[in-house]
Each structure stands twice: as structure tokens, then as C-alpha cells.
Symmetry: C2
Subunit: 193 residues, 2 copies
DNA sequence: ACCTGAACACCGTTCAAGT
DNA sequence: ACCTGAACACCGTTCAAGT
């Protein structure tokens, strides 16, 4: 995790990881099967940082919101996670939080197909959002953002709306995320039992 | 694209690509700056397959739905795209469709911050959904899905809700996606001018 | 039970040299 | 303007051998 946080996913190498641990790279293969296993472990560790709301049997919407916000915060705290989200999330930490999400929705009266749609909708939204923000917000991408900005302005004839109201320009990621989550939850209300 | 479609992102190599084109790998660097450029070009090409709705000035919701569905279909047609979505999408095809999305929302009366939130919300949702589905649905992941299924059943004490109603089990991806999109659009109605 | 070194089969990319 | 070959600095992973 330290290596990933400091240098990003590209620079995580079995050799570099081993060096940081004071061994040879081949030693790692006694403890781990492949590099993918290392990435799966690191990714699941992120979700361990997400606090599971202590539900007082109260508002399901409040509980779900807290979980999803924590989920997002954890992903953004470790931006390298964005490039790894395209793999099955099956670690104990992910599953525990996924269980909470499903249980909360069930308790709120959701039944299939709305149960599945709500759970997936929330997960997909938070993953997509974290992916998008991590892509554009992070350090080395500062220049990419500026270049994108300039590119839109330069071709404002082709992309008038994007150049004018376009994203990336004065985007407040937090309120954008919150509003989108509100839409989703408002829309789900209809499906609530 | 042919190479990616047939063998996936992992197996796209400058050497293998060159072989397919009947040249040496180093020749490619005359036409392209880095491998990342190749991936960016391939990814943008996907979006070129998405038809931009011919808006008759009618229902914005209908137009947006058509675009997002096309977006999703294109991504799922090329599942290797899932692992590449964590990079800036700035090709002409993406931008043209993004411009349409924003313009449609503006015409519908959306203003900031709702305009940005709606556009991002829709994009993030479709990207997250395609990522999730491609992760679980695809060929070689058949066994991963079965293993995940078995794992949940085996630990049904820890994950009772997931084991019972859990995803991956009898999930109809299309209706799950459609329902989630409905929630989002319903929720956005409030923000409409 | 755990660690090591040598080795294999690859990578992306550069660069001088060719036509 | 475009292509080639040799070369550099890496990769993930295996496996016999050590302690």
C-alpha cells in the first residue's frame, strides 16, 4: 500500500516491492501466487478503511449514503485503485460492505429486481465517479487537464457546449458527486416498498 | 481493434501488433508516439460506433437514454475497454458524444450545478456499469463467477443477504442497468428547469 | 518452512542506419 | 518520408538449490 500510494500502480513491480521488503523478488512467490494476488489484496485493503455505519434501524437512506460516501473517500485516498477497479472484488472487506448494503436495502423493503438494481446502481455510480475523478484530478494529470481545457477552447466551434459549460473547468467534485447521488436515491424512492 | 477484440487488452503488445501488420515493432514508433497512444486511439474508436441520436427537438429524456444505451452497448461489444476506462477520454468521437449530451441537457433547461451533475452522473453510471458487467460477464471470467458464487454460499453465515439475494446469481444485466438508469433520470427530473 | 540465484520468455522504447 | 536491427533497461515467473 505504501508503495502504491507513493508511486502509483504503474510502478508497483514484484522486484520493487521485494526491494522495499528487503528480499529478492522471487521470494515473494512463496507468500503469494501471482502479482494479481498482490493487487487484489491491496484493493481489498482499501475497503477495510471504510467504516460500516452502525445502523440504528433508522433511515436506510442515511445509512446507504454514509456507506457510499465512505466508499468514495477510500477510493480517492488511494487513486491508484482507479486503474484496478476492473477486477472482481471478492475480498472479505468488500464483501462485508456489500453485505451491509444489500441487507440495508432488504430491510428498507426492496425486493428484486429493484434490490439488485439499487445495489448495482449505487456501486456502479460510486465506482464510475471515483474512476472519473481519479483520472482527472491527480497530480501528474494536472497538465493533461490543462491540455484538455485548452483543446476544448481551441475547438469551441466543434464543441460549443463543452467549451462553455464544460466539465474539468470549474468542477467541484464533491457537490457534483453529492447531487448525482441525490438523483439516484430520489429515483430509488419509487421502488421502495 | 481486431487484436484487442480477439485477445484482450493484456495481449496487446507492440510486438504482436506489429506482427499482425507485417512489420517490426519498432516501425510502429514512426506512426505513434507510445503504446498509450495506441490504446487511446482504440478507445476513442469504440465511441465512434455509438450513433448520435437525431434529436427532433422532442423529449430530452429519450435522446439521453438512446445515447447512454448506445454508449453502453459499444463498451460491452469490446470488453477490453473496461480495463482502459481509467484514462482521459479526449478523442474526437468521445467529445462529439459528450457535446451532444451536454447540449441536450442545456436545451432541456439544466443549469449548473445540475448540468454538470447530470452529465457526470450519467457518464459515471454507464462507465461503472459497463466496467462491472465486463468484469463479471466475460468468457474467461466464467470460472471466477462460479468460484465467487460458491464462495458466497460457503460463507452464508457471514454474508447471508449476499448468499440469498446476491448478485451474479441470476442477474439480468440489461434490466438491472435499465432500472438504475430510470432511477437516475427520475431523480434528475427535479433538477430540470 | 522459508529464502536465494540463475534463468526463461517476454516487455516498451531508442537510435543509428538504411532506402 | 518511412522502415529496419541491434540494443537497453526492464518485466513476471519458475525452479533447483540452499538453510
Amino acid at each position: 500500500m505504501a508503495l502504491l500510494d507513493q508511486e502509483g500502480a504503474d510502478r508497483l513491480t514484484m522486484r520493487r516491492l521485494a526491494e522495499r521488503l528487503g528480499t529478492g523478488s522471487t521470494t515473494l512467490y512463496w507468500h503469494v501466487k501471482t502479482k494479481d494476488d498482490v493487487l487484489d489484496l491491496a484493493l481489498d485493503a482499501i475497503f477495510g478503511e471504510v467504516e460500516i455505519p452502525r445502523t440504528d434501524g433508522g433511515d436506510w437512506r442515511e445509512d446507504v449514503t454514509a456507506l457510499i460516501r465512505g466508499w468514495r473517500a477510500a477510493l480517492l485516498d488511494h487513486p491508484w485503485s482507479a486503474s484496478l477497479l476492473g477486477r472482481p472484488l471478492m475480498g472479505p472487506n468488500v464483501l462485508a460492505r456489500s453485505e451491509f448494503l444489500h441487507a440495508t436495502l432488504v430491510a428498507a423493503g426492496f425486493t428484486d429486481p429493484h434490490l439488485t438494481a439499487a445495489a448495482y446502481g449505487l456501486s456502479n455510480y460510486v465506482i464510475g465517479s471515483a474512476l472519473m475523478q481519479a483520472t482527472w484530478q491527480n497530480g501528474d494529470e494536472e497538465q493533461a487537464r490543462r491540455a484538455a481545457h485548452d483543446h476544448l477552447r481551441a475547438h469551441r466551434d466543434r464543441y460549443p457546449t463543452l467549451a462553455a459549460h464544460g466539465p474539468l473547468i470549474g468542477n467541484d467534485w464533491d457537490t457534483t458527486f453529492t447531487l448525482g447521488l441525490t438523483y439516484l436515491l430520489d429515483g430509488m424512492k419509487t421502488a421502495e416498498r
